[in-house]
Symmetry: C2
Subunit: 202 residues, 2 copies
DNA sequence: GTCTATAGCTGGATAGAC
DNA sequence: GTCTATCCAGCTATAGAC
C-alpha cells in the first residue's frame, strides 16, 4: 500500500514523457518503467496494457489541444481581443509543452479514428461554429475585410503551432540557440497577432 | 537477373509508401515486402538493413522539403512574385505528397541529427540568407513594412505546411469531404498569398 | 536473383514468491 | 503492491537451396 496513488501518478508522468517523445510505436514499456523508477510488471498491474496506458496519455494531450481553443471561443470578447487571446494562449501553452504538436499530429495520422471519437465525445471540443459566427459578424460590421472563416482559423493556428512542430529544423536552419528560440517564440505572440490583424484590415 | 533494376525501384516505391505512413518505428519489413510484391529476404539482399533502407527514403523526403524552397530562393524574381511562387509551389507539392509533413516532422523530432547532417551536406539546402537579404531590400525600398525576415519565413511556411500535417483533425472539425479538402487547399494558394501581402503592406 | 526456413533477439504480458 | 523470472509473439536478419 506504500505507493498506490503516488505510483499511479509517477507512471502517468513517466508515460507522458516517453510517449510524447517517442510515440506509441517507438516507446518501450521498459523506458517508461525506468523513467518512473519502477519495473515493467507494475505498469501492467496498474494500467493493464501498453495500449490502455497510451490511450490515457493521448486523450489528455488531445483535450489539451482542444481546450486552448474552446475556452476562448466560448468567451464573448470583441473580435480583435479574441484573436490576440487565441495566439497568446496557444504560444504560451506550446512553450510549456513543446512535444505536444508532433505527438498529436503523428498519432492522429497513424490512427485518425482516435481523434474523431475524441472530438465527437464533446466535453471540450472547440465550437468552430461560434468562431465562424464571430468572423461573419465582424465582417458585417466592416471591422475586417471578407475572408472565409475556416481559412482564417487555419492561418491562425498554423502560425502558432507549426514552428513548434518544426523546431529542430528551424533551429538548424537559423542557427538559433535554445535561448534564442524561446525569445523568438515570445516575440511571435505580438508579431503574429499584428500580422493577422493587418491582413484583415478592411 | 530478371528483376534487378526493376525490383530495386519497386522496393524503393514500396518503402516510401510504408515508411511515410507508419514512420521508422511503426513500419515492418514485412509490410514493405508485401507492398512490393516480393519477400522479406529481398529487402535485405538489396538494401542490407531496415535502417539503411529508411535512410534512403528519409533523405529523399528531406531533400524534397528543402528543394521547394531553395529553387525559388535562388531565382531572382521580384519580392511579391517570390512570395507567390513559394506558396504556389509548396501547396502544389503537398497536394501531391500529403504524408510528407508529418513524416519529416516526426522523424526529425525522433532523431534531430539526421536533419542537421542533411542540411550541412549542402547541395540543395535553401539559402536562408538570400531570403533575408531580399526581405531587407524590399523593406529599404518601402515595398513592405518592417518585419523580421525569419519570422516572415516562418509565417509563410507555417500557413502552407501545417494544414497538411493536421489534415485528419481539420477534416473532422470542419466536416469536409476529401473533395472539399482538395478544393480548400487549392483556394489557399491565392488566399495565403493575398493574406501575406496585405499583412506586409507598408 | 529469388525463395523458404529458421536463427536470434526484443519487447509486451503474466505467474508466482514475498 | 512490488519484485524476479519467464513465456511467447513478432520482428530483423541470415543461411542455404534452387
Amino acid at each position: 500500500m506504500s505507493g498506490e496513488k503516488n505510483t499511479e501518478a509517477q507512471i502517468i508522468a513517466a508515460a507522458k514523457k516517453i510517449f510524447m517523445q517517442k510515440g506509441l510505436a517507438g516507446a518501450r514499456m521498459q523506458d517508461i518503467a525506468d523513467e518512473a523508477g519502477i519495473n515493467k510488471a507494475m505498469l501492467h498491474y496498474y494500467y493493464r496494457s501498453k495500449d490502455k496506458l497510451f490511450e490515457i496519455i493521448f486523450n489528455e494531450a488531445a483535450d489539451n489541444v482542444f481546450r486552448v481553443l474552446s475556452a476562448i471561443l466560448q468567451s464573448d470578447m470583441p473580435f480583435r481581443e479574441m484573436i490576440a487571446a487565441i495566439i497568446d494562449n496557444y504560444i504560451d501553452n506550446l512553450i510549456k509543452n513543446p512535444y505536444l504538436p508532433v505527438f498529436v499530429l503523428n498519432e492522429i495520422h497513424q490512427n485518425p479514428e482516435r481523434i474523431v471519437s475524441r472530438f465527437t465525445k464533446s466535453g471540450n471540443s472547440p465550437d468552430i461554429q461560434a468562431f465562424m459566427d464571430k468572423v461573419n459578424k465582424a465582417q458585417k460590421k466592416k471591422q475586417i475585410r471578407s475572408i472565409q472563416p475556416l481559412q482564417l482559423l487555419l492561418n491562425i493556428v498554423s502560425m502558432c503551432i507549426f514552428p513548434f512542430a518544426a523546431r529542430p529544423l528551424i533551429q538548424t536552419v537559423s542557427g538559433a540557440s535554445d535561448q534564442q528560440w524561446k525569445e523568438l517564440m515570445e516575440e511571435r505572440k505580438a508579431l503574429v497577432t499584428e500580422f493577422i490583424l493587418r491582413a484583415l484590415e478592411p
